[in-house]
């Protein structure tokens, strides 16, 4: 890792450097959509659109690695011909990924670059340059519970905001070359390191709430059949699947064939799916092994907190808060964790770990 310091005004030079070297530069910016105010990762044509001090975006940068609608092959019913779709080779720089989103990408790497390498994911991963950026926790952000408030790999370049300047961490050769070629950067001095430490302390202190994670996987298993606990959550669930779509780690997909109008040729699509859809667990003879809202919502969090944890040692949540906003009825990871930790036999009056998070979950219910 090479460390450098740049003045804030130099950021535009970095943007221009990226533009010169990549087909597309994307970053957080105000949505051009019509609903409420929101930020999205989108193509940056104007540096001034970039919002590096952003809170969160509707969709995570996952969309650049797992296309919501990947066309994986073309077929012909009459001839039986099948033509695999080659992964699209576009070089892209993602500006401003938060530590949670980079950590989410590392989790997706375990899944899509593990025993079975997914060519589309792999191609996108190889051709993407990642610039991480430091953040400050907003209410509802619980990355601290999953250790994803810090990131030490998975990026090319990381910018830590020191107020009037950025502390740069260059993790790769392309990053070092980019900094060398386009930026007026200097070596960090003791005062920079000191400010970096102060900034880190300020960041850690800004978390107002830490979910109680003690024995969570075990507790989950033990309370899996607790109908009251799960019905309280499941009765609220709209079964809309918005949580899965906005999750930087959810990665389930469905495969669907779509015929052209001639009825002979067509495309096979790989599209985002959600275990909150009742269709997800439907098998032959109309049998559905998760037929209720409750069974589906219980399963979704089980996979996140237990399923992958017992296999890979990682929970499939980075605490980014996107689902807090997407879910209209306040079903958040923090709520599920709280429900699991609650002790039905504990003394009445015992203080429950409530906090700004509850308030924010309602306010942000957006």
């Amino acid at each position: 890792m090479i460390y450098k310091i740049i003045e804030k005004w130099a950021l535009e030079d970095l943007f221009e450097g990226l533009r010169a070297n990549y087909d597309e530069v994307v970053g957080p910016q105000p949505s051009k959509g019509h609903g409420g105010p929101a930020l999205v990762f989108d193509k940056l044509t104007n540096f001034n659109d970039l919002r590096l001090d952003y809170d969160t975006t509707i969709l995570p940068p996952k969309k650049y690695f797992l296309n919501p609608d990947e066309r994986i092959l073309r077929f012909n019913r009459s001839t039986g011909d099948v033509f695999d779709t080659e992964p699209v080779q576009i070089s892209r720089a993602i500006f401003g990924m938060h530590p949670c989103d980079i950590n989410a990408l590392l989790l997706l790497d375990q899944i899509f670059l593990g025993d079975y390498v997914d060519p589309y994911y792999q191609a996108a991963r190889k051709s993407t340059f990642i610039i991480g950026t430091s953040c400050m926790p907003s209410p509802g952000h619980i990355c601290n519970a999953f250790g994803s408030d810090e990131v030490h790999r998975g990026f090319d370049l990381f910018l830590t905001d020191l107020g009037d300047r950025y502390f740069l961490s260059c993790a790769t050769v392309p990053a070092a070359e980019l900094v060398d070629k386009y930026l007026d950067a200097r070596e960090p001095v003791a005062a920079d390191i000191s400010d970096f430490q102060a900034r880190t302390r300020q960041f850690k202190a800004a978390f107002k709430y830490l979910p109680q994670m003690d024995q969570l996987p075990l507790l989950y298993g033990a309370k899996y059949e607790d109908e009251d606990l799960w019905n309280q959550i499941g009765d609220d669930c709209l079964s809309c699947g918005a949580c899965s779509m906005v999750c930087p780690v959810c990665h389930c997909f469905d495969v669907r064939d779509k015929l052209d109008a001639n009825g002979e040729t067509g495309l096979r699509h790989r599209v985002w799916d959600s275990c909150n859809f009742s269709e997800f667990a439907e098998v032959a003879h109309d049998y559905n092994f998760r037929p209720t809202h409750t069974s589906r919502v219980r399963y979704r969090f089980f996979h996140k907190f237990v399923g992958n944890f017992t296999r890979n040692g990682k929970m499939l949540c980075v605490g980014c808060s996107r689902c807090n906003r997407a879910c209209k009825v306040g079903i958040t990871p923090a709520r599920v964790i709280r429900a699991l930790q609650e002790d039905a036999n504990a003394n009445v009056g015992a203080e429950t770990p409530d906090s700004a998070d509850t308030v924010s979950a309602k306010k942000d219910c957006a």
Binding site: H34, G35, G36, P37, L238, A242, S278, C365
Partner: protein, 277 residues
């Protein structure tokens, strides 16, 4: 809530299945959408279209394989026609909200006599003879395939028709719209409506988006174009109406307004025991 499934699993036998297009009570908008199919000639190459009142003066043949039906049932004649069609057609495809949910015509189902009286006065029995409570066609006959929407999306119709021709079972997406909306990355109408944001024109006050409970599949067509969902595809099979109403109340919106908005396309389901369909 989705219409009963009649028959599946066997593809239609003739090389070019004979199709007819019928219309009950509706504004013909969905038929018009059929004529808007971009690759209409390709589609017509896969069937033998024998009857389509909007396009041709040919008379209804005695025999056919596929009946494509638009509109709600509002008269005794409609019921008899449907029952006749069901005995002939191997496959019935219901298109549009009128046919599937009762749609706008079903709004008149409550206090039907009063509405008829208001419109036709003393002439009601002559002008609106044989009237029945407006209802979706699945109230009277089994329906094999559905194309939801007001009006339908011609591309979705083509996909459903192809499924019918192949004899494959129609996909049953039961979830409401929100997931598609997120995938399109459309900002939510229920996002934080801070007073300042409203004043700045950044947020719409009191937007009543029905996507929360509406059958998905439209690709968030309205929302991505700046309009809240009006629920034209009907209530999703997995919709959680009670939780959605609680949310609406928590948002400071009126639950009755929410229900009234839903009634435009789903009054049959809400008021006429439509859940049983």
């Amino acid at each position: 809530m989705s219409a009963a499934i009649h028959n599946h699993g066997s593809s239609l036998k003739p090389a070019y299945p004979r199709a007819i297009v019928l219309s009950l009570a509706s504004d013909f908008g969905c038929q018009l959408q059929l004529s808007n199919i971009a690759d209409l000639l390709d589609v017509l190459g896969t069937i033998k279209l024998e009857y389509w009142q909007l396009m041709s003066s040919a008379v209804l043949p005695a025999d056919y394989d596929i009946a494509i039906i638009e509109g709600a049932v509002t008269t005794q004649d409609h019921i008899e026609l449907l029952q006749q069609v069901r005995t002939v057609a191997q496959t019935i495809i219901a298109i549009g909200s009128c046919a599937i949910t009762g749609g706008v015509p079903a709004l008149a189902a409550q206090d039907l006599g009063k509405h008829v009286q208001a419109v036709y006065s003393d002439d009601a029995d002559r002008v609106a003879a044989g009237r029945v409570r407006p209802a979706p066609i699945s109230n009277y006959v089994a329906v094999d395939y559905l194309v939801a929407g007001c009006p339908i999306d011609p591309r979705e119709f083509v996909t459903v028709l192809q499924g019918a021709l192949l004899g494959v079972r129609q996909r049953q997406q039961r979830e409401p719209l929100c997931a598609q909306c997120k995938t399109m990355e459309a900002p939510c109408f229920y996002s934080i409506r801070a007073a300042q944001d409203i004043a700045d024109g950044m947020a719409t006050p009191q937007a009543l988006c029905l996507g929360l409970v509406t059958r998905t599949g439209c690709g968030a067509l309205c929302i991505t174009r700046g309009r809240p969902c009006t629920g034209c595809r009907g209530i999703a099979a997995d919709a959680n109406l009670s939780s959605a109403r609680t949310f609406i109340a928590n948002e400071g919106l009126d639950v009755d307004d929410f229900d009234d908005a839903l009634r435009i396309y789903s009054s049959h389901a809400l008021d006429d025991g439509g859940e049983e369909q």
